[in-house]
């Protein structure tokens, strides 16, 4: 720690933001460990990803601005990047999980839980499944 030269407009919001970020990220990881389903498990880590990262980066911006005696804004790069990429990651993971779960359902009971939508994807996954259905693809 750099000693007692941090001003009060850094330490007061910094304390609150760091405590909030730590609690949010910890609760997100506990939810990742304890929730029963994959689709339920997808939700809690995004809390730490967006809010925790935002709180820590605001604190980092405050500390850097106070130390360098000028506004430092390059932490906005990480914020922008993380906020832009978190939905892409979640969407791709959910699409992979839906595809894999539907392929497993087609093994046991065909025609269950499939809507009328995207028939070509269904035939695609079932044909890809027919080649490797014996090796429990988990």
């Amino acid at each position: 720690m750099s000693g007692a030269e941090l001003p009060l407009w850094v330490t007061v919001p910094g304390t609150l933001l760091l405590i909030a970020a730590g609690l949010l990220t910890l609760v997100g990881s506990i939810g990742l460990l304890r929730l029963p389903d994959f689709y339920a498990r997808l939700h809690p880590p995004s809390m730490g990803t967006t809010l925790g990262t935002g709180c820590v980066l605001i604190t980092s911006m405050l500390v850097s601005s106070a130390l360098l005696q000028r506004p430092v804004l390059h932490e906005l790069l990480i914020t922008l990047f993380v906020v832009m990429t978190a939905p892409v990651t979640a969407m791709l993971l959910v699409r992979a999980a839906v595809s894999r779960g539907r392929a497993r359902l087609d093994d046991s009971q065909p025609g269950n839980r499939n809507g009328p939508a995207d028939q070509d994807r269904k035939s695609d996954t079932s044909s890809a499944n027919a080649s490797g259905s014996s090796s429990g693809h988990m």
């Binding site: 970020a21 990881s29 997808l42 990803t49 993971l93 699409r95 992979a96 999980a97």
Partner: protein
């Protein structure tokens, strides 16, 4: 007053670092316990984000700007690896011809 909040900020920084490290450990537990491959990928993504936050906390506590570049690189590579693994699960190959 200033000294009090300076100490409070220091303790809050330690608390946040501890929380991020515990979050990393829980993500590792899910990474080893996850029943399906997408659970493991999600745990790896959470692990990357928590590691990036731990590095940012190191940067805040030591008041240096070196850790910021490492955090940016970890964010970039974490996103790229998660996208590649999810694409592999979805299509069976990463780069399609």
């Amino acid at each position: 007053m200033t000294a009090f909040f300076d100490h409070a900020f220091e303790y809050a920084a330690w608390f946040a670092s501890l929380c991020f490290v515990v979050a990393m450990l829980l993500a590792i537990a899910r990474l080893f316990a996850g029943p399906a491959a997408q659970d493991r990928i999600l745990a790896l993504d959470t692990f990357y984000i928590s590691g990036m936050l731990t590095l940012l906390m190191l940067g805040i506590r030591s008041a240096s700007t070196v850790y910021f570049d490492m955090a940016l690189l970890i964010a970039l590579f974490g996103f790229a690896s998660t996208i590649a693994l999810a694409k592999f699960l979805l299509r069976g190959e990463v780069i399609e011809p």
